[in-house]
């Protein structure tokens, strides 16, 4: 038996204790939620939804890059409440992207909440999503210390 195999699911504990789900407001990203919910139920894991908003400045004005940012955040709060209503210990972390990009922001949250799994999509539909779920997922796969579970976009 290898060290990696002994690290998970021993002594009657679940495999995962805290699961991070990276969301950008797109449907594709949310395809990971049922999986997170199922794993949470199986293992008794906490679920932390993570959203990274990006700001842009032009002509002295600062706004979110994603024009629907307010709506997205409201939607994510509803999703979090919905998970809680289902008996899952869920929370929402919204960060503003700093130097180093969204992948670093997600990794920071993952470390802070001591998560042992990151669930992320492959490609979103929003302006943020294309950047977020394309390059950011790649970056997470290269740099994250925790396992990364990538949920594919719907085909067709």
């Amino acid at each position: 038996m290898t060290g990696a195999e002994t690290a998970y699911g021993q002594g009657g504990q679940g495999v995962f204790s805290t699961i991070v789900v990276a969301l950008d407001g797109s449907g594709t990203a949310e395809r990971g939620l049922p999986l997170a919910t199922a794993l949470s139920r199986r293992d008794g894991a906490k679920v932390v939804l993570v959203h990274v908003q990006q700001l842009i400045t032009a002509a002295g004005t600062v706004v979110p890059v994603q024009p629907d940012e307010e709506r997205i955040q409201a939607h994510l709060r509803e999703l979090t409440e919905g998970l809680r209503d289902e008996g899952i210990e869920a929370s929402l972390e919204i960060r503003t992207m700093a130097l180093g990009g969204a992948a670093r922001s997600i990794a920071e949250v993952t470390d802070e909440v001591e998560a042992d799994l990151i669930i992320v999509g492959t490609q979103g539909h929003s302006a943020m999503g294309i950047m977020f779920l394309g390059s950011v997922t790649q970056r997470l796969l290269q740099t994250a210390d925790q396992p990364v579970l990538v949920v594919p976009a719907e085909r067709g």
Partner: protein, 290 residues
């Protein structure tokens, strides 16, 4: 001269700098604006998912309208991994005469329009290219008061001077003709010869100054030293600096020499690099093929 401005925009902070500069120039000159919505991470889409491009463009349009509410613009989506070729093609297609992009040196943040894209565009663009300095977006709309021209007597620098005069008339600004003679490392007889050359150079620069229409306020500055360093140092007094291409590349493309390239990286003011001839679609295709 600058009737339509093409702004490369992808939602990154560097593209916010480009939007600020492009919008500022458009407001001051009355130029029309095409916003090139760049999606370098978006590969070829199957027809069933082609709507994504429209949605992405619309989302960026809404963001731009929030940032610069009084800017009128058309939007063109540029998917694909070669924004430089896409911008050059689009400039020809829309008859734009200036492409504005963000700073080429922004580290991780500027990754969507990375340095290599800016450098390639500066080498191959058939029209003038301007790079907005880092954090230009934070300053709001500064006025255009002094337009500098880096003048070395080449045909490209004469064209830059013509464009500066045009801009000065449109924006009610003054023109500063700046020439830097590089005598570093020269001694003895060579220095004597250099002084003769320097005198001829001064005369040429004076002629250039006289070529600016009298109604446009202007002055002439002749300096000695490292041209890149001197021009960058003078940049703090300028609101815009126009430079010619090196002239050694294919006609009609902006081809920066080492001096111009250095100024682009270090100048504290926005820099416009002017190509030798007006845009030509054949040249754009050639640039794309490189």
């Amino acid at each position: 001269m600058f009737e339509r401005i093409l702004i490369g925009f992808d939602g990154t902070p560097a593209s916010g700098d480009a939007l600020s500069l492009g919008a500022h120039l458009a407001h001051r000159t009355g130029a029309q604006v095409t916003l090139a919505a760049c999606f370098p991470h978006l590969g070829p889409l199957p027809p069933a998912r082609a709507y994504i491009l429209d949605e992405e463009s619309e989302a960026l349009s809404r963001t731009v309208r929030k940032l610069v509410p009084d800017l009128e613009f058309e939007i063109a989506a540029l998917p694909g991994t070669s924004p430089s070729a896409g911008l050059a093609d689009l400039a020809s297609e829309r008859a734009a005469d200036l492409i504005v992009i963000g700073s080429t040196h922004r580290g991780a943040i500027g990754r969507v329009l990375p340095g290599s894209v800016g450098e390639r565009l500066l080498r191959t663009s058939p029209v003038a290219v301007s790079v907005a300095p880092r954090d230009y977006a934070s300053h709001g709309h500064a006025d255009i008061g002094v337009i500098g021209v880096a003048y070395d007597g080449s045909p490209e620098s004469r064209l830059a001077l013509e464009k500066a005069a045009w801009l000065a008339r449109r924006t009610d600004s003054r023109v500063r003709v700046i020439s830097v003679i590089d005598l570093r490392g020269r001694a003895g007889e060579l220095a004597e010869l250099s002084k003769v050359a320097s005198g001829q150079f001064d005369a040429e620069v004076e002629r250039a100054g006289r070529s600016v229409p009298a109604e446009i306020e202007h002055d002439v500055l002749v300096l000695e030293g490292d041209p890149a360093v001197e021009l960058a140092a003078r940049g703090v007094e300028l609101d815009l600096l126009l430079i010619g291409s090196s002239g050694h590349g294919p006609v009609g493309k902006v081809l920066l020499g080492s001096v111009s390239s250095e100024i682009m990286r270090t100048a504290p003011c926005p820099v416009v690099a002017v190509p030798r001839l007006a845009a030509a679609s054949a040249m754009t295709r050639e640039a794309r093929a490189e």
